[in-house]
């Protein structure tokens, strides 16, 4: 992990269940808590980077709400998400993480032929599929991929033993460590 914000996020998602900081400023136990902090982030982002603020905010909203949508009632240990952001004149970094089921576990319920975490990430970012079938949904990560590219952002998305790196292209590879749940690092 490159910086202190990433280090805190990484420690949060890798910690044993009894050792997680659940009172810190980055922890959002429910969607309501996230929304309050998300609205503050949007306000700050419009002040710092108005030209990018709306799309970046929509991307963050999709990733964060996916965590709640797909893990409600099924969190592994700690409900809710990690959410932090850092803005300077020349850099935006936003980190989201959840200790939920992960992409592979969610998608294999509706597409049993998916064999591993890497395949699951590829499907999630490219195919019209929802882990909550028969509900008609599943457009969020496609929107994320397209707008990461259009806005020249960078996204590192970890789930299980897979890592997807998105910018103007998408590269999916095996990750040395197993990130249970999801970890997303957006930079611009």
């Amino acid at each position: 992990m490159e910086n202190s914000q990433e280090k805190v996020a990484y420690e949060w998602i890798m910690a044993e269940a009894g050792k997680i900081n659940v009172v810190g400023e980055f922890y959002c136990s429910t969607r309501d808590v996230f929304e309050v902090r998300f609205n503050q982030m949007i306000k700050n982002l419009f002040e710092k980077r108005e030209e990018d603020a709306s799309i970046v905010s929509a991307v963050v909203g999709e990733i964060a709400n996916n965590s709640f949508d797909h893990n409600i009632g099924n969190w592994k240990d700690i409900p809710g998400i990690f959410f932090s952001y850092f803005f300077s004149e020349d850099k935006v970094e936003i980190i989201l993480a959840d200790r939920g089921q992960g992409i592979f576990s969610t998608l294999k319920k509706v597409k049993s032929e998916i064999e591993n975490d890497q395949e699951a990430l590829k499907v999630a970012f490219t195919e019209r599929i929802s882990g909550r079938a028969p509900e008609k949904r599943g457009n969020g990560l496609k929107f994320v991929r397209e707008n990461i590219k259009n806005k020249k952002m960078h996204l590192n998305f970890f789930s299980g033993t897979a890592r997807a790196e998105l910018n103007d292209q998408m590269k999916i590879e095996k990750n040395a460590e197993n990130i249970e749940g999801c970890l997303a690092i957006i930079t611009l």
């Binding site: 998300f38 709306s54 799309i55 929509a58 909203g61």
Partner: protein, 93 residues
């Protein structure tokens, strides 16, 4: 009938929020309207909209009514969201 989305909020994200908005719109704005009634969805004042919210509102209104018009939809996030809905949610408008 014109639906001004800014009256719901200027940050429109998440499916639960979209679902709630659609129920309210259905009860207060769309009730008893015929399917060929003109429905104008006005995006003015919207700062952020995401496809999960819009799929619960825009897609559903477009499925129910034949004559839906989108007004003041120039905002970048509105355009990006509509593109995603057209591509992945069969939005026809």
């Amino acid at each position: 009938m014109r639906i001004e989305l800014k009256k719901i909020g200027d940050v429109l994200v998440s499916r639960p929020a979209g679902r709630e908005a659609f129920l309210a719109i259905s009860a207060y704005n769309l009730k008893d309207l015929k399917e060929d009634e003109e429905i104008e969805i006005d995006f003015s004042g919207v700062k952020v909209i995401a496809p999960s919210w819009a799929d619960e509102v825009i897609t559903k209104i477009a499925e129910k009514f034949k004559n839906v018009k989108l007004l003041n939809a120039e905002n970048e996030t509105v355009q990006a969201t509509l593109k995603t809905l057209r591509e992945y949610s069969d939005l026809k408008i």
